[in-house]
Subunit: 302 residues, 2 copies
């Protein structure tokens, strides 16, 4: 067994941080390590938390973390921010959180921002969750910042997906919801002390009455005011109920097939040198070559 | 030359609609058609319009379209909605628009919703823009619904990218902005009659003073009230100024290299039968096989 794998399994914090950096920076060392750690995964519950900006996801995740810590559980938080390719909001949020939890080795926090083209985040988040799982974390929260397709897909890779909504968000959010409603196992109506919480619950209920889930689960609707912790225990209960009924595990095969697709995709593209893409791009832009001929040539080659 | 290609170049509306459906449904017929049409592309200006929900992007796009039509220009609108995998908000917005423009053959509108896994939208949007370009549309507007990484990447594939913001959107939007600020060639402060428009402009200016663009362009900031058309002409002027100074074309090589990457990625994954992914996923979920061994096997095979 690799030295670093052994240390991670023993709970060594520094080895864990080093391995996390390997995953973030796509270092070659990450893969043999994760291959070795894989058999030790499958114990942590991975919870995806998604919802529109302003819904209060971060506060809810912090309150969940506080509750879990009071139970003696260890937690990993992966804050996924696909809209910050560089050093944007994620880093800021990270710092604020670090201050809250920095003295607690039971909370591991990482911001997952985009490094490059689409898709890399799903891979990195999956691998980071595997790492934390193998390292013995009881629960890993994957918190996404937005509700684009990326975020939805990343949230979908969790064992349990929580969709956080707030009352009175208007028509734009109604439109957004259409796409992510079907991935939620638990609906949280946050800021439920605001007007419109009951109306939103009625809307969710009428949506759920019409929808049909293959696993037979009726998603729970929980009211929270996460700023003061109200309802957070109920939210956690709903998450655990879905998990303990085997909900997440029933779709684990499907989730892994999506993850494998993601991982394969990146590895295939890694085979094409970046320079080849940029040369080909220039040729097409200047109409010297047809993009479809280039693709044909590339596909011929493998 | 293919019959359908000939008809599209002659301006046949029904042939155009049929080809658009091929692209949407990933029909095999699309590729030879686009290969044939490619040499006839490069005349349309592709304008990406992005920004947070509620910023009024659709209204702005409609007003731009009205203005362009009054100049006798033909327009294509591609409304990209990655968060609606099925029939969500996009279709509704589409219908409302259809009523406005349905009698005008100079406006071609399509909603681009997600069909499947990440990335498919970027390909379909690119191909649809190529089709409309070849069909002689003067301007193609690619309007995205959200500001996730997907939307940002899709907006980035345009010749000119417009970022629509509104005054007083709070901290969450500040965080979102960090990631998309650097792709905007033109900033539109919409609903500029609301309080906070000047403050937002000052913030943008201080951001721009610190940023440095490789093409030397200083992004324009335009105030609009798109509900009544105010400032829309100025926005179009700013878009055209950037375009005419060659801004978009200077990065066309880079854009095409990203597009080619996207196109190659999909084609590579198409080679793995869906069943193989789902079987492998089940094996991993049940810990019968290690995901990294599966990937290794797949990569060996090609």
């Amino acid at each position: 067994m690799l030295e670093v794998a052994r240390k991670i399994l023993e709970g060594d914090e520094r080895a864990l941080a080093r391995a996390a950096s390997w995953i973030e920076n796509r270092r070659l060392e990450a893969e043999p390590l994760l291959q070795e750690l894989f058999p030790r995964t499958g114990h942590a519950m991975i919870v995806g938390v998604t919802g529109p900006p302003g819904a209060g996801k971060s506060t809810l995740c912090d309150q969940l973390t506080r509750l879990l810590r009071s139970e003696g559980k260890t937690v990993g938080i992966l804050a996924v921010d696909p809209s910050s390719p560089y050093t944007g909001g994620a880093i800021l949020g990270d710092r604020i959180r670090m201050q809250q939890h920095h003295s607690d080795p039971g909370v591991f926090i990482r911001s997952m921002a985009t490094r490059g083209w689409l898709g890399g985040l799903a891979r990195a988040t999956t691998e980071m969750a595997m790492l934390l799982d193998a390292a013995g974390r009881d629960l890993v929260i994957v918190e996404t910042v937005g509700v684009g397709q990326d975020e939805v897909e990343i949230a979908r890779l969790a064992d349990v997906t929580v969709l956080v909504l707030v009352p009175g968000m208007g028509d734009d959010v109604q439109a957004i919801k259409a796409g992510i409603m079907e991935i939620a196992d638990v609906f949280v109506i946050n800021k439920a002390d605001l007007p419109g919480a009951e109306k939103l619950e009625r809307e969710l209920k009428s949506y759920l009455a019409l929808s049909h889930r293959p696993d037979g689960w009726t998603p729970k609707i929980v009211h929270t005011v996460s700023a003061d912790g109200k309802g957070v225990a109920e939210a956690l209960l709903a998450v655990r109920e879905y998990y303990s009924r085997g909900g997440g595990r029933a779709r684990a095969g499907q989730i892994w097939s999506l993850r494998l697709r993601e991982m394969l995709r990146e590895r295939l593209l890694d085979r094409v040198p970046a320079e080849e893409f940029s040369n080909a791009g220039r040729d097409v832009a200047e109409h010297r070559r047809n993009p479809y001929s280039i693709l044909h040539d590339w596909l011929e080659r493998w």
